[in-house]
Symmetry: C2
Subunit: 384 residues, 2 copies
């Protein structure tokens, strides 16, 4: 199995890109990543995307993007794992390199969510749930998360405001990320009075949608000559699933797929949770941040909010999360999110995270969640 | 790079399965394949599918299918390459095994196309074309192929009826395939008078849509103990792309992605076209059968119909195609088609193709085409 290195990254800003089409956004991230990698071609491209068929009436998306980016001829595939599509594309790209079938890969994610009405976007997001047993009941994606959060508050006796530090930290960290969707500091008072979306999830518990694309260039580590630059290798690349419908779980407050994929990733990387210097988790909703921290071994069950209240998730804390804003403030262009997480970790491991730089960051973990915890992809990156 | 073997296959019939949902169809193929492989679990599942989001309002499809099939927990991904999605899923599954990341994989395809109106299905199929520059003009998928066929007739001076043997052979071969969508012998006279769909493509040039699922179980060859049974190994697994829009091609009558992926596959397998005993090609339209034969080296340019007229594509000919009915008569449930092709070759190489058995079949090639020749996946299977 060949070790895989990331030699280039590209990210567009996350916003309402009304002047850029799906293919243009994707191409911008690709060209930036290729330029950084000093390459002009690759063997294959893996495109993470969830809703191009529904929103943009475009499938055959890998082909389209390869073509528009000037890479006509390469192998090209779209990979879908709901909101986990981006990291899934990276995972499949890693396997393509490790297998020896490909010597260079662009793994990317792109999502164009704002070229339609909000009800259409909400309906498209709901296709991540079980269409026949959840979606058909009119259950939206936020309402599924609200059910989970409601139960969590009841079971572990937290107050809603105990989740505020997750959102406050994310917004704070996004201030220095030019690609972030939101650039506003928020206070506890603002969190408290934020408009309710689906009880108990309010506006400041929820990540904003947006358009965006991110890309990484993957090559075998042994193909690189030493050039004195820090290298980033993928030390762990895994995935796991749980039931797609939350009513099918024995325990709705335990992300078994997060646990399983994290354990596999720790094993591949030969590390423990304590070794992780930063964690780009999937804070689509603040409840998911808490559940991820617990499933991955950073907090005891039911104690995710405690880490946040103690400041341990902040840049100088024990396990910094959302270091460039997370889904909450960088934004959540769903199929692209997992690649943003990985690109942001690359920046941290290279020491290129500016004012958000985590001191001496050597090992970063990214966890991208599809559905209500049903398909979870975990990556561990190391500087080498 | 580990060699990959196919140890189990499953196929549902291709028809209007109004009594079976997307997940039920997929599960049926999976359970059949697992039973044949004598396995009850795998490490990962790769689901080829094009239109579940648009037709069934279901994404997160890998998770859904893993869950319903009793495989909750495994890695699960949907792979989309338009009508080439099925073979793309197999290709990615092959890389997962070859990489060492997985030791067992279900690669499958499923499509549910009849749970909606025909205009909806036609619109969903059109998403395989360039949405902004073809789809938005109202160009349907059949009309793109009609443009290609029209030009071919003009350029190479064939008559429309010269394509009849492709359809006649496919229908003949489907008679003995219980999974085929169509079980009717057709004559030259019937071909001539078939209803025009989009000039020059008539009803008997075009493959029928349908619901269906097919699956294969992949494992590393070296994990198998010798048990005296014939084994089927994947000797070539490749893909290539061309421009997504046909107006962007220098030569609209040359499937450059078919050529490129076939050449790579021949190289991997260490064979020449002459060594291929049967060819499951992508006869979505009869013109595509001709173009595939030419691009893969079985006929000179412009001479695909000659092979057919000479009977060389028939079961006892030089290069039998559509041996179980092909897309034309087995049917074309788009995201599943590529896996049907591979499963049918497995049957041939095992000597289990019944009345359609190709004598002494040792090497079979499958070619699955996404879009109007824009994303093409080629596999070469060998008995070992």
């Amino acid at each position: 199995m060949r070790e895989v290195a990331i030699i280039g990254i590209g990210q567009t800003s996350v916003e309402e890109h009304w002047d850029k089409s799906l293919r243009e956004l994707a191409t911008q991230a690709i060209l930036d990543a290729l330029q950084e990698a000093q390459r002009d071609k690759v063997d294959g491209i893996f495109v993470g995307n969830m809703m191009s068929g529904m929103i943009s009436r475009q499938e055959n998306l890998g082909t389209l993007i390869a073509d528009w980016a000037g890479l006509r001829g390469v192998e090209a595939f779209k990979v879908e794992a709901a909101c986990g599509s981006g990291a899934a594309a990276v995972h499949l790209g890693v396997m393509a390199i490790a297998s020896g079938y490909m010597d260079s890969v662009i793994a990317m994610g792109v999502e164009k969510m704002t070229d339609t009405s909000m009800p259409e976007t909400t309906a498209a997001l709901a296709t991540a749930a079980d269409a026949d047993f959840e979606g058909d009941q009119g259950v939206s994606f936020v309402s599924l998360n609200a059910l989970i959060m409601q139960r969590y508050l009841y079971e572990y006796k937290w107050k809603h405001t105990d989740f505020a530090p997750f959102s406050i930290n994310a917004h704070e960290n996004a201030l220095n990320n030019p690609n972030a969707r939101l650039h506003d500091r928020i206070s506890l008072a603002e969190y408290r009075k934020a408009r309710m979306i689906c009880d108990p999830i309010n506006l400041l518990d929820a990540s904003p949608t947006g358009d965006g694309a991110a890309a990484v260039v993957l090559v075998p580590l042994d193909s690189l000559r030493s050039n004195g630059h820090a290298r980033v290798v993928i030390a762990g690349s895994t995935a796991a699933t749980d039931s797609i419908a939350i009513h099918d779980r024995k325990d709705g407050l335990w992300l078994s797929a997060a646990y399983a994929s994290a354990q596999k990733a720790y094993g591949q990387a030969g590390i423990q949770p304590d070794d992780v210097d930063l964690f780009e988790l999937h804070d689509a909703f603040s409840i998911m941040a808490a559940l991820s921290l617990e499933a991955c071994g950073f907090a005891e069950r039911g104690q995710g909010p405690r880490l946040a209240l103690d400041g341990e998730i902040c840049p100088n804390g024990r396990i910094p999360v959302a270091t460039r804003g997370g889904l909450k403030a960088r934004g959540h262009p769903v199929g692209a999110t997992g690649v943003y997480q990985i690109a942001e970790i690359v920046q941290q491991l290279r020491g290129e995270a500016g004012k958000n730089q985590i001191q001496d960051a050597r090992i970063g973990m990214a966890q991208n969640i599809g559905g209500s915890g049903s398909n979870i992809v975990t990556h561990i990156l190391k500087s080498a």
